[in-house]
Amino acid sequence: MLRRHFIAFTAAAVTALSAGTASADMPAPFDNPEEVSIALVRYLSTGDFFQAYLSGVESQAAALGVDLRVFDSRQDAALQADMVDQAIALNVDGIIIQHGLTESMKEAAQRAVDAGIKVVAFDVNVENEAIPQIEQSDYLLGRMALDQALADNGNAFTAGYVYVPGIAPLDRRDVAWKEVQAENPDITEAAVFGTLDNPIANSVANQARAVLQANPTINVVFAPYDEFAKGVKIAVDEAGLTDDIDIYSADISTADISAMREPGSAWVTTVATNPAVVGEVSVRALALMLAGDNPGASVVVPPTLITQDFLNEQDIKNMDDLGAKMPQFQHADVAMADWMPLPAR
């Protein structure tokens, strides 16, 4: 009920924005939102996930009516730190740091805090108590997918595992796999493989073909990244093993939905947070800080379990359908306040 109110409010706000009268109910500094500017300083930007994250940041910023500036360092750690300094020089009110390396961002983030700027960080630990961490729980992504695998296959199966060490989100998902293995000694890990050579799906497909040939007993593949899952699915299809192997993964996109819904698809389950929602939450957490609230040291966006059966039953074709049929995927009730306007759906 409350949400509906906000949606109506936001719709009104969006239409009224140009007149600049949208902010009657919002606390300072959002009583004059056009004078508030925030900066998004990005480390990673290429790919569906980051594109959707940006769209979430943009739509929440638009709902608030604030000025958003996007700095994109394209995986250049030093440049990202310089961009924080640029944002400080531009006198922005708030900064969202999106990914990056602890070593390079820690001091830049501290300089921003010293300059009196409110800062939040998504998926990068800048080791600063004044900076809340926005997280999609990678551990939970892995854990929920594996719990579903255990529910479907019992606690004795032969697994193939796709993993590339040294990539932070994959390492956090790996914790869940290690934990499940320790709890279920009857799970056999027949093979570990994986690569980030792009196109990733194609390279993983080549590897998975070899692995499935060498280990015909594998009946479950844990591929906790959608590009991995896509590659394994191609290999499974090519080897004609669609009925013998189930793929459990993390993340989702429109393309993933169609791959999961292909007739007889081996990709049965994925667990995902909506990157757009994570983007919205990042902006809301920053807005709370600007309004003088405290969103807490860590803001976790909870993931959602998405099964092939659910997609088929609800006839879901793309991310918009998924959001409509699965409200918890469309909106996460974190970093909220009564006055907070939400993006129009």
């Binding site: 790919g47 594109q51 050579d197 196109p199 073909r209 070899a210 896509k230 393309a255 074709k317 793309n318």
Partner: protein, 336 residues
């Protein structure tokens, strides 16, 4: 005697190494020595192999094409855009991609021969241009059926079955559904490039241009035209690779294609060492691609992690280059 041993080593060393590797993996990795496994290897090298054949054509005229990986991924995106968003048929999508490859090759060639831009720089520029260009129509998103378009509509088109057939169909050969279409296309392209470079007047002129451009020009060979043609061959083969990639993936994935570029260049360079050719040649390139493919397949089957695979790939390339540049120069003596 010594000279004969050296000669033998240069000529057959790489093929013997290949045979030893196959025997080793057959013994060490369960399931390696089966017809299906052999076909997997071929399939995994088909796309890089096709790209490598294009690189070979530019190497022959003493050029280099850094843009092939980007051309391949651009063809991947273009085919997806054409079928999923513009709802074209498979034939139109394929023609568009091949035309795109030819045009990119033409521009590369003209930049190099008309505007005198060094080949590495011209094709490097083209690489960046294409990596950016392929993302502009979809604002950096991958393309799949059902994706939301900017205007609130949903993309209704889909990869047509005829197009997917190019990447996924498998022909019966003794065993049912054994040989995949990309392998057939790889073999056809390899044979065509091999015949063209080795056995036609045009191919020989291209080798002549590669070894001494001025001399070839002085005897009347249209040097510039052949150079442009070499880049067009490279563009078109890269586009073929991209089409097969799209047909295998079944979606328009954004990717820079840099790994495709590096792997195919490695295959072409390893090819120098095959049969002691010491120059770019289509047969060597195909063997080079196969060599890397067998190595990676065998190592994956034995659970070797990905970084050891890169390491071994590098080691093979260095060994091949030593074969080519050191041993071959000793064979032909100083002054070569």
């Amino acid at each position: 005697m010594n000279a004969r041993v050296l000669d033998f080593a240069i000529k057959y060393g790489f093929l013997i190494l290949l045979a030893i590797m196959v025997i080793y993996f057959s013994l060490a990795a369960p399931g390696f020595s089966s017809p299906r496994s052999a076909v997997f290897v071929l399939q995994s090298v088909a796309i890089t192999g096709i790209l490598a054949l294009g690189v070979t054509a530019t190497l022959v005229v003493d050029g280099f094409d850094l843009s092939i990986g980007a051309v391949a991924t651009s063809a991947l995106m273009l085919s997806a855009y054409s079928m999923v968003i513009l709802e074209h048929s498979a034939v139109v999508a394929v023609i568009l991609c091949l035309a795109m490859g030819a045009i990119v090759g033409l521009i590369n060639g003209l930049l190099i021969v008309k505007f005198r831009v060094p080949d590495l720089l011209a094709t490097l520029g083209m690489m960046f241009l294409l990596i950016g260009l392929q993302r502009i129509p979809t604002q950096g998103n991958s393309i799949a059926t059902g994706m939301a378009l900017g205007n609130g509509d949903v993309a209704e088109g889909a990869f047509s079955p005829a197009f997917l057939w190019l990447g996924r169909h498998r022909f019966d050969l003794f065993i049912e559904r054994l040989v995949p279409m990309p392998v057939i296309i790889f073999l056809i392209v390899a044979i065509m490039i091999w015949l063209f470079l080795g056995y036609t007047r045009h191919g020989r002129l291209m080798y002549a241009i590669g070894s001494n451009e001025r001399a070839a020009g002085l005897v009347g060979a249209p040097v510039n035209r052949y150079k442009v043609v070499a880049y067009m061959i490279s563009g078109v083969t890269a586009a073929i690779g991209g089409i097969l990639l799209a047909a295998r993936l079944g979606r328009g994935d954004i990717a820079s294609g840099n790994n495709l570029l590096l792997d195919s260049v490695a295959a072409a360079l390893i090819g120098f060492a095959v049969l002691g050719a010491a120059r770019p040649n289509a047969f060597g390139t195909a063997i080079g691609a196969l060599f890397v493919g067998i190595l990676l397949q065998g190592m994956t089957m034995m659970n070797a992690p990905y970084y050891t695979q890169d390491f071994v790939k590098g080691a093979v390339l260095v060994a091949a280059l030593v074969f080519t540049f050191y041993l071959s120069s000793r064979r032909s003596g100083p002054g070569h």
